[in-house]
Subunit: 332 residues, 2 copies
Amino acid sequence: MSARTTQLRLARRPQGFPDEHTWEVTETEVPSPAQGQFVVAVDHISLEPAMRGWIRDVRSYWPPVGIGEVMRAHATGTVTESRHSGYAVGDAVSGHFGVAEHALSDGNGVVRIDTGLAGPPTWLGALGLPGMTAWFGLFDVGRIQHGETVVVSGAAGAVGSVVGQLAKARGCRVVGIAGGPKKCAWLKEIGFDEAIDYKAHDPLKQLQEAVPEGIDVFFDNVGGGILDAGLANLRRGARVVICGAVANYNAEKPEGPRRLMSLIVCRASMTGFLVLDYEDRYPEAIEGISEMIHSGRLQARETVVSGGVQAFPEALLGLFRGINTGKLVLEV
Amino acid sequence: MSARTTQLRLARRPQGFPDEHTWEVTETEVPSPAQGQFVVAVDHISLEPAMRGWIRDVRSYWPPVGIGEVMRAHATGTVTESRHSGYAVGDAVSGHFGVAEHALSDGNGVVRIDTGLAGPPTWLGALGLPGMTAWFGLFDVGRIQHGETVVVSGAAGAVGSVVGQLAKARGCRVVGIAGGPKKCAWLKEIGFDEAIDYKAHDPLKQLQEAVPEGIDVFFDNVGGGILDAGLANLRRGARVVICGAVANYNAEKPEGPRRLMSLIVCRASMTGFLVLDYEDRYPEAIEGISEMIHSGRLQARETVVSGGVQAFPEALLGLFRGINTGKLVLEV
């Protein structure tokens, strides 16, 4: 008799926010590896804003998750059975294992993680793709220089909190934009020079007061009105790094920034990027960030919710409501 | 008894399109030059979309034109009286002479023009700031490469028509977006590979058909929905050059591009620039463009309207209605 295992599948493409009709929980047998494959027992699943894009039926950097397919997700886990020469039972790994208790893998895109260095949730956060995104977005796309003013939106999130700490370590003045006094207090705690609560007052005015010198690098995770507030406060030669636009992900008609003329007046640029393009250089970022974690110069924080794959739909909505400080992770 | 001369002054800041209350025609004596000054009799005045910004009371690259001041304008003319060692009576010049029949100048920002090489209107067009804008926007900001696909909006305008011809000369495939069949026919005539009439059909769909390979460089003069159509058709690594956003210049609440996620998916950038930053290098562009005019590889075209400074208000509205093919110039 084989053991059973649970997955979450895409049942229907949502309009606006995903709801109870979007997902379907299914049960199968735990898969058996063919030659060159191994099985992973998933322990933590990453929740990320980009997931809303993955279930949208449009051309993007990845094909959309198909109806009936297991929802795509980064996750960590342990190898429980292996017919792959590179992976042995007991190995701790991360990869695209999906929203599932068990996954079959051929090792493609799988990374071995050192759980002695940091727990699995951190390998989905500061030492995972969010950390890589912060590193390459800030250094390669934003090209920050010592002494510059850096503003980051979604600052208390998985990417933003690393962005701010990396920029501080490089000698920048750092202002974070986040939602709510608790998140803002945390930002000050981890070294941000200023924290703006966009829910409390008009972010545009707050930003004007916080950066009278103007912004050199605006690292945007949010889009919409927050991006406009940034554009209104650029300094000459500013770089706007477009990392995400979470404000628009559930909108059927996203709102664009109205202040594009700032790009002309400030001779500024706005650049999008995908962390996947930097895959060859992840080791450089992992080394840099783990060194900072160990020396206490970077705080890696995660919000871990429990409930297993069945709890994924609610956790994803929580992400868009901003329940998390740092990386949001689902424990399986 | 001194001679009289006419100017057009800003009387009131408009909401939306400028109207009859915006301007005031005044008459003064023809000015007399002090030591180090000279007087220019203006013959042609440039009309440009940026003028709408110059009369807006906001921080920009130049201070706004003040109420009661002569309207700022580039113009050409002839020196009629001089106490400046560098300029003699009869010299043909261009500069910021304003919407006026006569201007007093100390030579600051004044360029000597060779009317044997091309008539004064061309010195406000392909050999003036629009030509410089096309040159540096395309080569320095857009960094076009041989064989790339270049799309330009406002393609039949002063800047766009030069952009397209320069890109063709560098071996690019060039698609222009313009309003109306006459302009589109002219674009084909001057060598554009395709011309899209945005008034005839949905520009987004037309663009999809015209550039199945995707856009490498989108040179945007228009903004709004046209910019969105461009963003929807970018190729990986695309550069969007933000030169202007004429669709928004008279709007109190400009519309932003909704498809910013394309910047992420395509790892693309959007960059604003001001031609003024390239002033030191104008001679390089003037040399390149005049050589092309003379060898017949670039057609410089102007639409010249008459009526003198009194006709400026109507001519400016005409610019926003798109009455011009090539550069719009007012004859004094």
